[in-house]
Chain length 274, copies 2
């Protein structure tokens, strides 16, 4: 059975969507049709949303789920008039926090996910540029500034992970690809040796690696399973021999890889959460 | 007054942190000391967390706030024994959803922020590589594949925005820098004309732009306020003349810029939320 779900916010919608998606993931037998509606910041927009929800209710034959983080009470009341099952996040928690903190909420929209201060913003953007400048072993001379250097074979997930960590945590992450030339003696490449304490390895199931490489360069020697097996075996032997911590990326999202590394290495985020 | 806050999860911690940060942002008068503890997936780890919370309670002289998304009940019960004010997200909402959906939760950890399926994963990673390959006007030959092409002066936020949109929404975003050479006749550069419907402009307050550029190249002509004023004036005139929609990035986070563009242009995400 299909069930429509609306994540509604007067801000970016990121909180409503993130929370809502986590909650719904606990109900695997139901097929959800998820719609995020950000910037619903007027009674007029809210009225349109109500019509959209009611249409979905008619089409589905069952009332949609509404998960909202709307701060403005008058807008929230309009949404509450829709034919849906509404779970209001701020209403649920802000009152409790108010009592516990003995402090009044500002009830202002967009307090989260806005630029808290320019310093935090600059750190994140600097970190993104650092990741780009130090991507794929392009340069190694800035490694002294790096918080972390990801190492692994081509297409093991280094670049997306370094960019996610930059954007999300403001940390400076370089990455360096290990290729066949590096595997002869199972020693770290010279450029990496003095930064050994900053290294973190990514590894991946050779079958999955081959599939990923085949999307990029179909039927190439580079994508052949035997090649992928050889590289992965060599890189894991190197990590073990050199004592470089490493993580399997095969079944992990960029979010999981990044948070596991942060947690394992004990790096602190440089930027406050946006 | 300082108040310690713990975001605790047996998964990545992203949901607890995102929600918690949004809620706390409504209480501006209090200084929060926020700690995220992901992967608390055993009774042993939970017991260590309890000790950490109790230490913070002693140090602060007031019990910390605990916001958790722990799925496993036995782990949650350990945390509940800490000297803190606990707001349990799943306990609050999952029961309600269970009744409304007439379906039992799977109570499995890490259902959100894991790779839902390889297709979604591939789309996001492809989108990141697309953003990198089409960054800063490096190539324009793939613009037919782009969902969106961001245009603006140097350091107006194009690259971080295109990467965030790739990672978060799996959309294909190129970006093209507009420089003085492009401003002579206020017409779009030739490379962009046939993709006019995909263009979205970023603009920025010249004072802020000058500050950002000064961090990159201190006291350069490139960073001079007069130069920034000239470029911003020209680019906005071009956007207006050519009918290119644009957005102010001055006080906006990457999240806000991205979600506003998605919402304004009406692009749909290609990837499901991770």
């Amino acid at each position: 059975m299909k069930r429509s779900v609306f994540f509604i916010s007067d801000g970016t919608g990121i909180t409503a969507e993130t929370l809502g998606h986590s909650l719904l993931a606990q109900f695997e037998s139901i097929e959800f049709d998820e719609v995020t509606l950000p910037y619903i910041d007027s009674v007029e927009k809210a009225s349109e949303v109500v019509m959209e929800i009611n249409r979905a209710a008619d089409a589905d034959g069952v009332r949609p789920i509404i998960i909202d983080t709307i701060v403005d009470k008058s807008i929230r009341e309009v949404i509450a008039g829709a034919n849906g099952y509404m779970m209001d996040v701020f209403d649920t928690f802000v009152g409790k926090l108010q009592a516990e903190l003995c402090s009044n909420p500002v009830n202002a929209v967009g307090k989260s996910h806005s630029i808290a201060n320019n310093k935090t913003y600059n750190i994140r953007i600097d970190a993104v540029h650092f990741a780009l400048d130090n991507d794929d072993g392009a340069r190694t001379k800035h490694y002294d500034k790096a918080d972390l250097i990801l190492v692994g074979v081509s297409r093991s997930g280094k670049t997306p992970t370094s960019l996610y960590m930059a954007l999300q945590f403001g940390v400076y992450v370089g990455n360096y690809p290990l290729t066949e030339d590096d595997f002869d003696d199972l020693r770290l490449p010279a450029a990496l040796r003095e930064y050994k304490s900053k290294l973190f390895g990514l590894t991946i199931d050779p079958v999955r690696l081959s599939a990923i490489r085949n999307e990029r360069r179909p039927n190439s020697p580079y994508a052949a399973l035997s090649q992928c097996q050889k590289e992965v075996r060599a890189v894991e032997a190197m990590f073990n021999r050199e004592g470089v911590p490493f993580i399997q990326t095969t079944h992990a999202s960029v979010e999981e890889i990044s948070t596991r590394i942060m947690s394992q290495v004990g790096i602190k985020r440089r930027s406050l959460q946006p």
